[in-house]
Symmetry: C3
Subunit: 125 residues, 3 copies
């Protein structure tokens, strides 16, 4: 098992799952392409996908660079917390956008931890 | 020749080409920054760029992780299908957004295939 | 010191810094999630973050592939120019969006240079 690669791929799968929900919401709420506005129900899940894209771009390089300097099990464990945090974020944002803070923190803190691990490795070793 | 790296770089070049078209459409349709709305012609090409960004973030890690476990020619071949699918998507979306399905499928299926190849490698080997 | 990894991580940190500014601008300008429109001050910093995301997705693969074929100090040096260009872009865009051209060029040209270096390496070596 390649744990770090597995976590990276699961983060991509989770993100594509949110993208599929956006596609379904287009039909459900009648928001026709190229519009990305017009119904708050659509906008919420669209923002979940976009925010996940925004974090994924930070997560993946941090994850792979951290894995060059730290044990794979540690790096994959922190990455797994990110996956969990994103699910919490999704459920909260779709229910009540103003309550997305906890899920956001649960997915942002692992990204910052991996960035710190990667920076420490890149500078000190 | 490093085929996998070449396909990854061509995917980035194709994406930047769409970004250049968005910049030109700003002038052509009179959509001034920071707005990204206001004229459907602009919004169509902007959505092509954004959707390509959304897929590229999934394609690149899937491509490079798949290449660790499978022959470079196979991985690069699937990646080349993605490039073709994105061109079909672009032409269709700009003409008639509702007909973007074929090009979308032609670029999404290779991403899913590379993800499956990468996941199989990361879990089984 | 791992210079290429350091530049990649600093590009991610810079991008997350812009994301934090977007979060603060939500409160400052009263733009409530899931909206990303409604006040030009918010839209400007939001566009800085999005445009940086758009470039980062091109920068990171170009940087790492270029580093396989060229000396790390050259690759990291070009990447450092990108970091500088993004700071210039940010300051200009927030002040006067129409004057963002110089900062954009200062960050886009290094991305294109790294892409050219990576393509030359992938094709010729």
């Amino acid at each position: 098992m390649h744990l770090v690669e597995l976590v990276a791929l699961l983060a991509v799968v989770q993100y594509l799952f949110f993208a599929v929900l956006v596609g379904r919401a287009r039909g459900h709420y009648g928001v026709k392409a190229p519009a990305v506005n017009g119904h708050e129900g659509f906008e919420r899940i669209y923002r979940v996908q976009m925010n996940t894209l925004e974090l994924l771009v930070a997560l993946l390089p941090a994850l792979f660079i951290a894995a060059r300097f730290w044990p794979a099990a540690w790096v994959a464990g922190v990455g797994a917390l990110y996956l969990l945090g994103r699910f919490v974020y999704w459920r909260a944002y779709v229910d009540v956008p103003s309550r997305r803070g906890l899920g956001f923190a649960l997915s942002m803190v692992p990204v910052l931890a991996l960035l710190a691990m990667a920076l420490a490795g890149a500078v000190l070793r």
